[in-house]
Amino acid sequence: MSHSTSLVKKTSHGANMRPMAIEQQPLTAEKRLLLEHEHVPGINKIDVYSSKGGYEALKTVLKNKMTVDAIVDIMKKSGLRGRGGAGFPTGSKWSFVPKNDGKAHYLLCNADESEPGTFKDRVILEKLPHMMIEGMIIGSYAIAAKKSYIYIRGEYTYAALAIEKAIQEAYQAGFLGKDILGSGFDHDMYVHRGAGAYICGEETGLISSLEGKKGWPKLKPPFPAVEGYLKSPTVVNNVETLAAVPWIIRNGPEAYAKFGTEKSKGTKMWSVSGDVNRPGVYELECGAPFKALLEDCCGGVRGGKKLKAIIPGGSSAPIVTAEEAYQMTLDYESIASKGSMLGSGGMIVLDETRDLVQVLKNLSEFYADESCGQCTPCREGTGWIEKILHSFTEKQARREDVDLLKNIASNLQGRTICVLADSIAMPVESYLKKFPQEFEKYLKKSTASGTRV
């Protein structure tokens, strides 16, 4: 079998490529389970990965001929929730796949990391590809999938190449291919590159894209677990979710669930950017205080400035004021209690000088550009939001535009096939609610006269 793709050609550019840099040594505020060996030289190679306990989980599963139920049970007990944004329990997702239905099953790894502020999967893809591959083989075994695909965003060329190499090593070591470790389980794994479309990170959009179509999301139900890729049962899991699987199998679900809070188990990788001294990827126990991430890991707000607000979980997450942020802990419940969400863990930090109307305008341009155009409320509404926010910054806003924004945001939510519309509507509502003075400042400067027609 050949794994050569057009990527191989691109090795000629390799000299210019380099993996992203993250803090080399764990910080005291961190709890590194997934990233424990991230700083070990050569950890992207199979021999080094194996010397640190890599592929032991897969051997345990296959040599003990663990049942599907047993694996699902372990995942459920661990409390692991999807790390891509939605936070759905992984064990439950796997359990929805029908058994012995005679159909082909598929596992798809969602490596389409495109949510603004999110760059944590890149670390796993570039530096710890085997951890994700091992998780994928175990997940595939648990849902009886003979094929799996890593759907990686087209721009991540370096990462795609790193995974291609790691897959080849896994074939050579007998962890992929026919009759893996004498278990009778056959599995093939492939890299599939996207081509630049945010919507393909939505699981049904990803499936459409993998089917060779526009990345249009599909109505649910049917859910992918029943009718997904090529109308076959399919599980779509995020990179970080799959990378957590080997640790959980190796150490037991209880060990994983010991970390975190009641509803947020284990650790979470945070990618922090914006106005901080040390932006980067950090892994913290769920439930850690926000201050530990901001100050101990990221070295505080850049330039000694004060914090104004944060966007906690990727740009779709409603904004959180500085005051709320300092009361917040890094888990699903606490962030939800501040009217926002943990999401992907892509945190953007905004200092006291940031103009939040400009910030929201920038994000509205992103969502208007990335709306797939399938549903009218989203296709039109994202553009309207963008235009109205432009009118604010161009001093052409009218007082009634605040209500118009609220009206559009409210009419966007829950009226489309996927949540892209909600992903700008919820932020719009939160910025207006929590920072009305920022909009007021522009209204006072506005030179618009008369009313809109």
Binding site: M1, S2, S4, T5, S6, K10, H13, N16, M17, R18, M20, I22, A104, E113, E115, P116, G117, T118, F119, D121, R122, K147, R153, G154, E155, Y156, T157, Y190, H192, R193, G194, A195, G196, A197, Y198, L210, E211, G212, K213, K214, G215, L230, S271, S273, G274, D275, P279, G280, S315, G346, I348, L350, V359, N362, L363, E365, F366, D369, E370, C372
Partner: protein
Amino acid sequence: MSQHHSSTAQAYSKEVQFSEKTMTEFKNILAKYDSKRSALLPVLHLTQDEFGHLSDEAIVYVAKLMDLSPAQVLEVVSFYHMFHRHPVGQHHLQFCVTLSCWMNGSHQLMKSTCSRLGIRAGETTADGKFSVVGVECLGSCGSAPVVQVNETYYENLTPEKLNRLIASCKDGEPRQP
């Protein structure tokens, strides 16, 4: 999008056909999937690598290879940002303009690059060497601002680093500045 159709526009042949090597790669790609159509995105990447952009002729050619109609191929091509219908510069500068990069000055960097090269965003220089576009989040938020030149990321950009990068492009081989 406005484009200067420069000498590179004539660089592609009307006779669109894969080389033998590319045809082998094409067959390898098909073997990965349980449905032929699933191979469309990787085949389009392959086609763009081979011909530089996806011309009308290339779309008809791919449609034939994939047992699809040209319209089915075109609707996919036009949906994805990375596929080009027209030639882009030899060094295609893609500035991330989304929040974290924007907060770190990506718009100014793009603007100064455009004025230095004498083009607007979305255009190619007359000699076909450079094109500039603004793109959405590249997942480089922690090392913002970033410009992607063809396939390669150049992160933590400053005006000085960007100058060195463009100079190295002019010398023929872009280098990490």
